[in-house]
Symmetry: C2
Subunit: 300 residues, 2 copies
DNA sequence: GATTGCGATTTCATTATTTGAAATACCGTC
DNA sequence: GACGGTATTTCAAATAATGAAATCGCAATC
């Protein structure tokens, strides 16, 4: 975007690393402080922020005041700043934007259609929640729904049973590491080769556990296998001790719109694997059936 | 905080309304833009932001770029900006801060103890989730958990059954309007008079429906009734057509630490009210029993 | 195939805003 | 009562944001 054209007539020397144009530096700093606080469970004092970010304490003081008055952080009586109530408020708004249906995956440009999708039609996650619910109920494991969003795999719904916990570090809105989980792999497996190409060009295959598939060729083989067998397995590829199973959800035209999954302790795979696969496939079939009827479809 | 002392020797005339000191204006503007986008389901273009906020288009352009590169917004191919993946990421961090136990309510200062509570003990919402789950299961209505946080009632857990939807506009992390819902009323009902006094001084009794209690004396009467009967009812006080029932959860010392509730279509109140009250009371009793055993208590 | 309209991007000088060092205030502890 | 660790305030320096206007790009229209 920024053209970084002929240097300013002004000074500009003093900025240490090549600082980006078109960015509001104090705003950027404030956001960086917010993220730092998010990463620190117990909160941070003004001074701590100043030290960690190598910023003048006065700058941090003003930045934190800005965040404070806007509700993005809160100040504990101890002087520690923690995330404030504006965060879940914005998240609620974000969740409502999941209330679109996305066109499937294919040529990287397909998601541009999103712009044309009218807001406020019943979302996939809303329509499929009962199915996730019963999947979670039957299996007594957490159930997940993911779809494409702006060229990324996005986790869009989680239904947890009373006792089992979701995979740590995973949350609604989580994107990425598609190569390392069952949902991502199954969605990629049913994408066009051109799209997979593009996806792999945009994403490094980061190693998350010893089992993560980090070889491009191995991953492509895996995707073929998945497309052939109709579901995907994550054997501790994302998180040690945890396995996932995922299966595709198709719309009336047969396009893969989403994927449904469950996660569970990986040692269950050998004992209950077959049964769990059957449950996931069943839920995915139900979901596809649900999408087949009464599509409030605009672009058909 | 800001002392607004003797006017600067500089100009300072040009700022129209009394602009606050100790605030980073460009950062504040960026946050305002973020909130504007959050309020707009379909997203906004640079120009639209500029018009709505009465800012120079160049300012908006730079602000949006800042938000964009930090992941707080995303740009659709149409040029519309919508909330980005950083929002749910921060929310996940916020949710983890719910992983404290809070001291109860009383004298407005009690929440200052939060600062001393070590992070990472099992949270109320984690411990009580199975109970909420079975409450939701039995009643087939959404179940809620709320507690005190920094002197405010905060919604801390929601368990939705397969088919019923939570109250719109309500989300985990939601605070306030305690006078208008069952959870808030029951928590206030078991707070000390001094605290209620303080709470009422800090919060106007905003009218949300025709039934909202906006008279201070009426609310106090209501709180007395609630404390006497052991549960609270919200009869369309927060949201038209929706009723809630809430009951207190006590710790081993008998202090009210939280409240459990369900919401449902208000017409069910006459038919199933008695039964639903029994369910909520039962869940609250179970929760209190759960808190009674094996408290990982630091300050006792 | 050129034109128009609409909006995004870039430019650049002006000027207000942010910065940073240091002084000061605060609070709990020894 | 002094000390150590922080938070807050001050104020001049100078950096960084602003705003008007020019430019660019795209798509619809003539």
């Amino acid at each position: 975007m920024a053209k970084r054209s002929h240097a300013h007539p002004h000074i500009q020397a003093s900025s240490p690393s090549e600082s980006k144009r078109d960015i509001l530096r104090s705003a950027q700093r404030v956001l960086a402080i917010l993220e730092l606080i998010a990463r620190t469970p117990g909160g941070l004092t003004v001074r701590a922020v100043s030290k960690l970010l190598q910023l003048n304490i006065s700058t941090c003081y003003h930045s934190l005041n800005t965040l404070l008055t806007a509700g993005y952080v809160e100040r504990l009586p101890s002087g520690h700043y923690v995330l404030g109530p504006q965060i879940p408020y914005l998240n609620d708004a974000y969740l409502r934007t999941l209330t679109h249906d996305w066109p499937a995956t294919d040529p990287q440009e397909s998601w541009q259609a999103v712009a044309r999708v009218p807001a406020h039609r019943p979302s996939l996650s809303q329509r499929l929640r009962p199915i996730l619910h019963s999947l979670s109920e039957r299996s007594q494991e957490p159930a997940y729904l993911a779809g494409w969003r702006y060229g990324e795999v996005e986790l869009q719904a989680i239904v947890e049973p009373a006792h089992a916990e979701r995979i740590p570090g995973i949350y609604i809105g989580y994107r990425g590491q598609a190569h390392a989980h069952a949902l991502g792999k199954v969605l990629l497996a049913y994408s066009s080769p051109a799209f997979v190409e593009d996806y792999l060009a945009r994403h490094a295959l980061i190693r998350l556990t010893q089992r993560t598939i980090v070889e491009r060729t191995l991953l492509c083989e895996e995707l073929h296998t998945i497309a052939h067998q109709g579901y995907s397995i994550d054997r501790e590829e994302l998180h040690a001790d945890t396995a996932c199973l995922a299966a595709p959800v198709r719309d009336a035209q047969g396009r893969v719109m989403a994927a449904i999954a469950i996660s569970f302790r990986s040692d269950l795979l050998s004992r209950r694997g077959e049964w769990l696969i059957a449950q996931v496939l069943r839920a995915a079939r139900q979901a596809s059936a649900e999408l087949r009827l009464s599509r409030p479809c605009e672009q058909c």
